[in-house]
Symmetry: T
Subunit: 74 residues, 12 copies
Amino acid sequence: MANPVYKMIELTGTSPVSVEEAVQNALQRAAKTVREMKWLEVVEIRGRIDEDHVGQWQVTVKVGFTVLDEEDDD
Amino acid sequence: MANPVYKMIELTGTSPVSVEEAVQNALQRAAKTVREMKWLEVVEIRGRIDEDHVGQWQVTVKVGFTVLDEEDDD
Amino acid sequence: MANPVYKMIELTGTSPVSVEEAVQNALQRAAKTVREMKWLEVVEIRGRIDEDHVGQWQVTVKVGFTVLDEEDDD
Amino acid sequence: MANPVYKMIELTGTSPVSVEEAVQNALQRAAKTVREMKWLEVVEIRGRIDEDHVGQWQVTVKVGFTVLDEEDDD
Amino acid sequence: MANPVYKMIELTGTSPVSVEEAVQNALQRAAKTVREMKWLEVVEIRGRIDEDHVGQWQVTVKVGFTVLDEEDDD
Amino acid sequence: MANPVYKMIELTGTSPVSVEEAVQNALQRAAKTVREMKWLEVVEIRGRIDEDHVGQWQVTVKVGFTVLDEEDDD
Amino acid sequence: MANPVYKMIELTGTSPVSVEEAVQNALQRAAKTVREMKWLEVVEIRGRIDEDHVGQWQVTVKVGFTVLDEEDDD
Amino acid sequence: MANPVYKMIELTGTSPVSVEEAVQNALQRAAKTVREMKWLEVVEIRGRIDEDHVGQWQVTVKVGFTVLDEEDDD
Amino acid sequence: MANPVYKMIELTGTSPVSVEEAVQNALQRAAKTVREMKWLEVVEIRGRIDEDHVGQWQVTVKVGFTVLDEEDDD
Amino acid sequence: MANPVYKMIELTGTSPVSVEEAVQNALQRAAKTVREMKWLEVVEIRGRIDEDHVGQWQVTVKVGFTVLDEEDDD
Amino acid sequence: MANPVYKMIELTGTSPVSVEEAVQNALQRAAKTVREMKWLEVVEIRGRIDEDHVGQWQVTVKVGFTVLDEEDDD
Amino acid sequence: MANPVYKMIELTGTSPVSVEEAVQNALQRAAKTVREMKWLEVVEIRGRIDEDHVGQWQVTVKVGFTVLDEEDDD
């Protein structure tokens, strides 16, 4: 592909453990339907507080993937 | 769902009346095809001017919805 | 359509030549599957460096298109 | 006009009632001296507090209008 | 007071009806314990979606008030 | 509470170990005096460098909590 | 002029061809009424899409010019 | 004026001495042609370097003034 | 304190003279009730204009202070 | 190199012709002393105005390059 | 040093494991040539995706260090 | 030099007295090793608080200087 085209989608992954695991959970889910994911950028780190600790990390990422010829990029 | 994953889409709703109605119009249209919409964030408020008043409010929102297992999240 | 609704998608087009051509390449690819594209906004201009020059311009755009009644806006 | 040129001015409208009315008030005043206003973008929403409520909404907008040939665009 | 000093607090008001009412609700609650509130600035407009409409507007404001001599400004 | 009101405070937690632990330390300290903390947003990640490694992670968070009726929200 | 004063105006130039030409078109039009323009800064690059390509580049620039003594700087 | 309307202009004042003097110089020049200036906001602080010191402070401010009925607000 | 926790408050100090004095005035007032203030960050510089000069500088700062064990950090 | 480290430098290239050429000029100059440049990001596009056109495009880029073992990365 | 001067450099560290390790890797490499590093600020968190997980975390930090008298601060 | 190339470095100067003096201190130190410094832009104003006043102003500036032919621009 001489001039590849990429599409970005924005996902929020969650985890009770860490920022990194929240991102991994988002990617694993996305990988079921999106092929050729190439890179991500963290755009927001939030969390739900359960009394005195973070009960759920919520990490929003932009994910870039190659638009393949047979794909619908809407 | 132990660790839910959300997807964000960005929509612009329009209304001749108000910011709130523009957002509602965007949600009503989106609800025809997207399930489990949870929250929104207003990212831009613009308008088309007809001579001396706002003829059309244009409100851009990010909408977050739960990615269900059977859904295509592309 | 009294109160049109628009959806934005984010694409990165590439070109060895110029910023403008990178955007055109993204639009041409998108036009295969998205109808009624109306406007774009450049959100990022990056490039891959090959030794001492830009080997590939990478221009990220937000593209807005009308959500038609029969369309899936997910 | 093959390649129209637009100028932006920044105005703050006020209203005791709502964000929308504050914008309309700014446009009505501007329409007395500016022709061909086309679009606006809300850039700031502030308010004066009178004890326990908003006594005056103050909404700053950028207004874009076509620069006509006979106009002074300073 | 020759050189007044102000303190800002950040509040999120909510309403099922409108952006303006959400702000008013925040101010009414704050007025129970904060005196001399002078101005506000809207910093974020979000909402909870109930199926296909905004069930709750959530508007975050910065509120500025005069620090009086007898007051604790922590 | 038909229309809850929230207040945000900004805290910086520290830890020699990780971003997540710095946040947890801030929340544990805050929980001694603030009830009903609901969510947080990471606004800055900094660190003190000890020679060639991060000796102390410093993570600034905005914490939102419900303003209860008997509480002083100043 | 020991301490020159400058004024900034914001213009949007358009062109079917390129970002650079859109800016030049804005400057040529502005030069009819504004003297002593010194520098510009690109603040936004947008475009109108005609089916599958950019039909009109829309580039918004801030233009700084010296306020001369006889000039009206409103 | 029940609902005053304000206009903002952007000016850069200069001074070899200080940030404050640069702003004052901009205001003094503007006061020759603009009436009813009310407030300003510093948007940028730059400087020209002469060898090893700041030879000229360049401070850009947004100035807000009341739009009077007889005034041209273009 | 192995892992200190800091709280930030946002204050606006005022002065007819300079940016620096406005900040000092805010700190002096805050020091009456807040102990262990450590650092500040200027977040906004505004001013009230009296005819043709700045009558009052208004400088908003974020102030960070150590949360002590006996303190109420609300 | 299992875990490469990159350094970013910020350069402004200039050209009387185009944004792209200004960037190329910066890269060509940088390539004389910096090896292993990998990517760039455009951070600002400015220009010097000569009467009624852009006499010099000034494009600021961040350039990322691999820190090699023998290199001084200060 | 009565009035210390600091310089900031921008580095991207990488790690297959975590955000924190990516930062540590950048610091360890930098410490070979830069002395007196004092603090860092995370400015961007990105990652390379390998199929369905983050194969490489890429964390960009600004690092501040004291400019010593014998040092070249270019 | 037909198309000059500039490099930006980021420095933090300090002073117990004022913002301006902090910047001057940074420039004086930089002038020992950097030639052809042309302009600066203030990017952050912070301060260390000693009890109830600013003990040290910390002003971060970007400094732009011409890259000369014989210079190392790393």
